[in-house]
Amino acid sequence: MSNDRTFGSSSFRLVAMGLLALHKLIAEGKDDTPEADASRDSLEVPLRALNKSEKDRAQWLSEDLYSINQVALPGNLKLMTSEAQALLNASYEARQSADWDQALEYLRGCNEYVLPAQLSYLRGAIWCESRNYDIAEAFFQHASSCEQKNGMYRAMHVYSLEKFDPSAAAKVAREILSRSDTEPPVVVAQAANALIRGAKASLHNELDRVRRELIPILDRTLDRLDQDRKAESRGAAYAMAAGLLGFCYEYLGNEGSAVSSFSRGLLEKPNEAALLVARGILQYGSSPRAISDLVEAVQLGYPKALPYLFLAHYYLITNQFDNCRSMCERGLLLDGSNTTKSQLYEWLAIAQAELGFAGELVSASFDAAIRLDPGNDFARENLSLFQASLSKAHGPAHAEWQQKTEAAIKSFGLAERRYDLAA
């Protein structure tokens, strides 16, 4: 199984990039030029560094890339058979279990039975999930050029392009947004996302201008989706447009409109964990709904540590130490910044102390907090408090721990999420 998240070594990445360039030259009729020769020469060393499965993967990628340069002839499509359908299903299952080589191989077995656009879309999806966005982009571009009215194909093209060439994606996004009222909503939402991400390196004023520019576009896109219950990929488009609209308001300091936007999205997609987290953070300390939103996001399997941090803090300040410990331990297994994890370790130490855990264990958690973020003064102070308490009959009383306010945690969470969005 090829379920490594990067799906290949750095040499494979070099080969993949070289093959994309070489196939582009071949498509332009330049395969007999010094440029093409140079491209082949540049592939020689990285090709030799590949292992057997990577070499096979590269060779079959090269074969598959021929399909995107051929003119699609619908008449050549064979009628679907049960065997071909079984291969298509097997490809989907292999993709679900991240066995991408196998998923691609099954697709080759039924490629004569699948429309060229659909075949390229499926190939693009596999390469996209294996995080080879440049390869995915090539296939998505072919899919969307074959079926220009297919919004999902075009949205995925913009998405994959943004992942490896944000400035090129921003350029494409601007073109799409210039005709936002006639483009499929899912394409508009993806273009807005690409524009925001493409502008992340810009000056603060430029970013604010982009956000202000996007607010009416996203608002109209949501209105269009409200009016068209059968719009293509409606759920995904709605959640993305509402989320982006909320973020634009939030960044511009309009928290009320931001909450309304997130709520609008959640009315359509109640189980969208990212929207629940966004609304939960924004309302933390000011509405009890924040806690239920964050609890729900965690139950839905939100993959990052941030909602766990908020819930851990909530349980800490409400003296629910067992729940606090559980949130800290779970959050520490997920993606999060060192600052986030340092706080989780600090609160884990406090919860452990309150629950009567061994002093060594508590100290080790405090130490981990300080190691991850040497600037975590609360962890240092609380460690000192704890060490001083060891000579007493009991640990520090609840009120003695140095604790951050809900407002401070909210500010921290918003900054963390913004950093995460910009990364």
Binding site: L22, D32, D37, R40, D41, Q59, W60, S62
Partner: protein, 179 residues
């Protein structure tokens, strides 16, 4: 012809032939190949005039080497004897798929080589370190068998021009084989 080859080969083994061969005028160099010289393949451009490979020093698809890339030169312009040389393989299917002509995709999926190039071969013997022709030897890569790549290198000190000339002198020994 066979006996002539044998004589040359024997002379080569005694190390006497080389000085004579390097010193002769390039135009009078005749293609000679030891009996059972190793067989190997290289993908090269074809001269439509005689179906033989095009000689040259600027492209990896010519009969020749590119100084600085395929071979290193010392301060005097002599070829450094460090196993580098003209790249060859024991079978055309062992060559990088990026160089195999596209028309052979039914046999090698993903082949991206130019259709102006052809799979040429010369020699008949096993792919092992052995003399190839006048002043040339095959040096297979190190590693676990099966070895799938090697270099045709000068077997003793030679200038770049001499090395290229001897490589060029093998031109008539190559034939197209894409089976």
């Amino acid at each position: 012809m066979r006996s002539q080859h044998r004589i040359i080969y024997q002379g080569l083994e005694k190390g006497r032939f080389w000085q004579y061969n390097w010193g002769m005028s390039l135009s009078s160099t005749t293609p000679t190949s030891p009996v059972q010289a190793p067989q190997f393949y290289r993908i090269m451009r074809r001269d439509p005039g005689d179906d033989l490979p095009v000689t040259g020093t600027t492209s990896s698809s010519e009969l020749g080497v590119r100084p600085g890339l395929d071979v290193d030169l010392d301060a005097n312009g002599e070829v450094v004897l460090n196993s580098k040389g003209m790249s060859v393989a024991p079978a055309w299917r062992d060559i990088d798929f990026t160089r195999i002509p596209k028309r052979l995709r039914p046999f090698v999926p993903g082949a991206t080589g130019s259709n102006s190039n052809y799979c040429f071969t010369m020699g008949r013997g096993p792919f092992q370190r052995d003399p190839v022709a006048n002043g040339l030897e095959l040096i297979p890569d190190q590693g676990q068998p099966p070895i799938k790549h090697g270099n045709v290198a000068p077997s003793q000190s030679a200038s770049l021009a001499q090395y290229q000339a001897v490589l060029g002198s093998t031109r008539s020994l190559w034939k197209i084989d894409e089976t």
